[in-house]
């Protein structure tokens, strides 16, 4: 076991910790809406397509991160336009995902540089976060937090009760579009830390856990953010201590551990009462 204190003085570790914290906050924030809107597959789809965007970015400008971010906006637009009806959304995402990945592989075959930058997105590269990455991430995280705070109530209304929300004057369709963009940005950033394949452990699992523990929308959100922070930062710090294991492994295990405990609690309290009403 290593001395964690020594690690925390190193810039790469500090960058990693800042990145993990920011990503946990925004993933935890969008998570409850992913659950309420039944969009787990959209998370998975946009995360995988971050790979295609990264490949395009590498080929055009030699910049995987910028490519992934711009790609995520394209993907969000496609999901928003093709999948505006919830029933059609999952098929639309499946279609976009398939063609997007094909495109990513094609682009990568034309790229003669070092393709690790693109494949890194599949598994996460938390220890490769540069100062510039931290700045970009901070700006995006601030944007996501502000947008989510401002649209929180109308988005909740539109997510749980769209017919009445529309009658009350809420722009249900527009909010759905805005949320897909916020989600795509969040997921693409998270993909860089935990990797495309494991974004779900920050954007879906903490919210699923929170919903087992409370039915108060603000508390569900707070618990989801807290659990995402615990998983991301806790996983990172544990990986400093045991450096033979990738942080991604700890992140997913902590995240799942919380969910398993919450389910066990609910199973023991079969009367349906909730812990943090």
């Amino acid at each position: 076991m290593n001395d964690i204190g020594i690690y925390l003085q190193l810039p790469f570790a500090q960058h990693a910790l800042i990145a993990a914290t920011l990503i946990a906050v925004i993933s935890g924030l969008v998570g409850p809406f992913v659950a309420a809107r039944d969009m787990a597959f959209a998370v998975h789809g946009t995360a995988e397509l971050a790979f295609a965007g990264a490949a395009a970015g590498l080929l055009v400008a030699g910049d995987a991160v910028a490519g992934a971010l711009i790609g995520s906006l394209v993907v969000a637009t496609a999901i928003g336009v093709l999948g505006d009806r919830p029933r059609e959304r999952n098929s639309a995402i499946g279609v976009i995902l398939a063609v997007g990945l094909g495109l990513g592989v094609l682009l990568l075959s034309y790229y003669h540089g070092f393709a690790t930058a693109a494949t890194n997105i599949l598994f996460g590269q938390i220890f490769g976060v540069s100062t510039r990455d931290v700045v970009v991430l901070s700006v995006i995280a601030a944007l996501v937090v502000v947008v989510m705070a401002v649209i929180f109530r109308p988005l909740l209304f539109a997510s749980v009760d769209p017919e009445v929300a529309q009658a009350r004057g809420v722009r249900v369709g527009l909010l759905g579009f805005v949320f897909v963009y916020v989600l795509a940005l969040t997921v693409t950033e998270a993909a860089q830390v935990v990797g495309t394949l494991l974004v779900l452990s920050l954007a879906v699992t903490p919210a699923a856990t929170a919903r087992q523990l409370s039915a108060n929308p603000l508390r569900v959100t707070a618990i989801a953010v807290g659990l995402a922070l615990l998983a991301a930062d806790g996983g990172l710090i544990l990986s400093f201590a045991f450096d033979s294991v990738k942080p991604t492994v700890f992140v997913t295990f902590i995240s799942f551990g919380g969910y398993a405990l919450a389910r066990a609690y609910r199973w023991l309290r079969r009367d349906g009462r909730i812990l943090l009403a």
Binding site: P32, A35, A36, A149, V150, I151, F152, R153, P154, L156, F157, V160, D161, E163, V164, A165, Q166, A167, R168, G169, V170, A210, R211, Q212, S214, A215, N216, P217, L218, V220, G272, I274, A277
Partner: protein, 273 residues
């Protein structure tokens, strides 16, 4: 003279070239209870959508509370039919009501104190205090509809629009919901437009019936409209209307099964058990 809460003049609604109803004229007075009846696809829900400002008339004019209908008008309360919420959808009954108060507002994610008080008062007024803190997905249909009424009445509306609010409720809960709506219109003179395929649960309350069938319509008291002659004329086929004690049974209409109270009640009880 003040203007009626709902005024429809020569109102026509066509969807995809087919006219749902045409040249509909109807003034609804304060405190009046109008039941909207008719077979599926006759445009009952579309009428509500017009009054909510979600759909525009093809021809004619409509005023709600003296104005063109617009979405989110505080003068209009809306009670939809009961629906199934996920068991672990992260909101409580109380939150559903609160969304009616401030759910359309951008800005801070939590409710203001004054808003919370109004929500609390609305919940107490419909007798939902004991279950308002339960997750919405774990409430019965009747409990959910009580909260819907609390939500709809938050803005102190002069018009209450109800779209099949009794659907899939058992008889007891139907009675409770009907009582709440009746109390509201008597105490606050709220006009009620009540879309239903089953008139009997609300028959004692109904001042007038609007019956829509295949582009045609009839308006009048239940005694005037719910007759074999009027309905046969409206449907263009032979319809019998039976009166058994204080119930009305329509026989021979396209969806007569749902108009037969015995049959419908049986289905409801079955669905609840």
């Amino acid at each position: 003279m003040s203007i009626d809460p709902i005024v429809l003049r020569d109102a026509t609604l066509s969807v995809g070239g087919r006219s749902l109803w045409s040249r509909l004229c109807l003034d609804i007075a304060p405190g009046e209870f109008v039941a909207v009846l008719g077979p599926n696809g006759a445009g009952k829900t579309s009428l509500l959508r017009v009054l909510l400002g979600l759909q525009r008339l093809s021809e004619g004019s409509v005023l709600v509370a003296g104005q063109e209908p617009r979405r989110g008008s505080p003068a209009v309360g809306y009670v939809p039919q009961q629906k199934g919420f996920d068991g672990d959808l992260g909101i409580r009954g109380r939150d559903l009501v609160a969304l009616g108060a401030g759910g359309h507002r951008y800005g801070r994610p939590w409710a203001r104190a004054a808003e919370r008080q109004r929500v609390e008062a609305a919940i107490e007024a419909v007798g939902a205090g004991s279950f308002a803190d339960n997750p919405i997905g774990r409430l019965s249909g009747g409990e959910q509809q009580r909260l819907r009424i609390a939500q709809a009445l938050l803005g102190d509306p002069s018009v209450l629009l109800c779209d099949e609010p009794l659907l899939s409720l058992d008889l007891n809960h139907q009675r409770g919901v009907v009582e709440l709506i009746d109390r509201r219109r008597r105490s606050a003179d709220t006009a009620v437009v009540f879309v239903t395929h089953e008139i009997n649960p609300v028959l004692p309350l109904v001042d007038r019936v609007l019956y829509l069938v295949g582009g045609r319509w009839a308006v009048g008291t239940p005694a005037e409209v719910m007759t074999g002659e009027r309905l046969s004329d409206l449907y263009g086929t032979v319809i019998d209307v039976l009166r058994v004690r204080d119930r009305v049974i329509v026989v021979g209409a396209a969806d007569s099964a749902t108009c037969e109270p015995g049959g419908a009640d049986h289905l409801h009880e079955h669905a609840q058990s």
